[in-house]
Symmetry: C2
Subunit: 299 residues, 2 copies
């Protein structure tokens, strides 16, 4: 069971910011990532459509046999975490609570800003979650629908003048509220961190949930005894035999950890963009996934 | 046969600009429109994905029993018109030739600009089609990937300052080329006509294919004897009987022409946005379509 991969999905590239942190924190784990680029973006679509796509993605990971699922998409987390986590018999980590908790810890003046897709902001999930953690905190939120298309356009656009102007426009009202930290409530937004930071103005702490989500994943694995071998098995050539090999359990015999990338659009562009976000992806295989063939209802 | 509807589809809202012209020119025809908002936009996706979606949409219209199909999406037209038109036994009208022909007629200095989605521009279909019509014409093209997300954001964004700046950026190179007309090579772009016109500068004629496509539809129906009753049967209350009703053929007994709107996302937002583009949509029904259940191969 421990050698099964972790599953991670997002509507497109954004979840790779979470994947990167998971790989960094848990180098002994194999991970299967699915980016639904063929149907991206999710955040402009209706709750019903978001749930249908999330359920299909979940079906793929059930079939893959993952030991833990990360919904690395705020929009899916906002609209489908409840039913998905209830339907599965393995742990599901979403991205809204870890980011909210980090913001609640970071704020000093109890004024938190949240930016996200139209679907995430309309759901008011951040307001609810932060109020559960500390009802005295004021939350100011703003939908930034064009950030995902800009992020998905690739690195040339992430610090582009147009991105800067749109960010200035989106964040104008938030700047007036006196917030001291701003939750990037969409896993694409760290790609635009520079322009968002510029538009938010000095003295505002940006909160990306990616690192907090990776910590949550480690915690969920540890508490259930689901960690793979602590250290990756490095294949450095033939091992000199120093006596009979003792089988001390599955971890020692495990295949080296592996990152497999799936996308519902063409693998070529996805491979290039994965390289921009993850750094080298030489070790990762990229596959096309026909996500539409999966059932759109949870088991 | 003549009373069957015309089918029209686009990745989202853009094709409604074509639908509007068809309704205006052919008020006696019933039309079924499908906007694939659940998977929009198409123009950032790979040729394989665009073809798969186009083939599924085509399957829906085959099942619906349309007499003519309009691919009111430049991206689908660029990548899938050939196989779709070859597979069907009823006429298929796409949007690239009518727009190109209008531009070839309009240009005086034989320099034409074309703007479209990344997938349309990469296909170089406009260059090929215009060269067939007049090889002495120079074509300058430019992908404008953020125009569709901006158009789909709704009317508040269509003349927004950010749209103006992005348009200025996209069209900067084209302004230097000396073009005297500019093809809006995406059916969403007429929604941004004002900012595109401003960015293109004075003296450049904008060519929207919507009207030319409607004329092409009329021509294709006429040449095959497929027109419905010339005048819509208006239901103005109970008809006074002036004697026995003579059955002069199916046209006289036909139901009044009807516009039916389908979308793969929620009908509510689609209905509102349809209203913004078409004007009143009181007479139109809006339905949700589960497009993923259709086969992704042509018959």
């Amino acid at each position: 069971m421990n050698d099964r991969p972790i599953g991670v999905f997002d509507s497109g590239l954004g979840g790779l910011t979470v994947l990167k942190e998971i790989i960094g924190l848990l180098p002994g784990e194999s991970v299967v990532y699915f980016g639904d680029c063929g149907r991206a973006p999710y955040g402009i679509k209706s709750p019903e459509t978001i749930r249908r796509y999330t359920f299909q993605n979940t079906r793929f990971f059930i079939e893959t046999g993952v030991k833990l699922l990360v919904i690395a998409c705020n929009t899916s987390s906002a609209h489908a975490y409840g039913p998905v986590s209830a339907a599965l018999d393995f742990p599901v980590v979403e991205v809204i609570r870890p980011g909210s908790a980090a913001a609640v810890r970071a704020t000093k003046n109890k004024k938190i800003g949240v930016i996200g897709t139209a679907a995430t902001i309309t759901s008011r999930v951040y307001e609810r979650v932060i109020a559960e953690m500390d009802p005295s905190i004021e939350v100011y939120s703003k939908a930034c629908p064009l950030f995902v298309p800009i992020a998905e356009e690739g690195p040339d656009w992430w610090a582009h003048e147009a991105a800067r102007i749109i960010a200035g426009e989106y964040l104008a009202d938030l700047r007036e509220t006196g917030i001291d930290c701003l939750v990037l409530g969409c896993t694409h937004y760290p790609l635009l961190e520079e322009v968002i930071r510029g538009a938010a103005g000095g003295g505002i702490t940006l909160i990306s949930s990616a690192r907090a989500v990776a910590a949550e994943v480690r915690c969920a694995l540890d508490s259930r005894g689901l960690r793979a071998a602590a250290e990756p098995v490095k294949n450095t050539g033939p091992v000199e035999s120093t006596g009979p090999v003792k089988n001390t359990g599955p971890a020692d015999n495990a295949a080296p950890p592996k990152v497999s990338l799936y996308t519902s659009d063409s693998p070529e562009r996805f491979r290039t963009l994965c390289g921009s976000i993850l750094g080298a992806t030489d070790g990762a295989d990229v596959y096309t996934l026909d996500i539409e063939k999966y059932e759109s209802r949870l088991p």
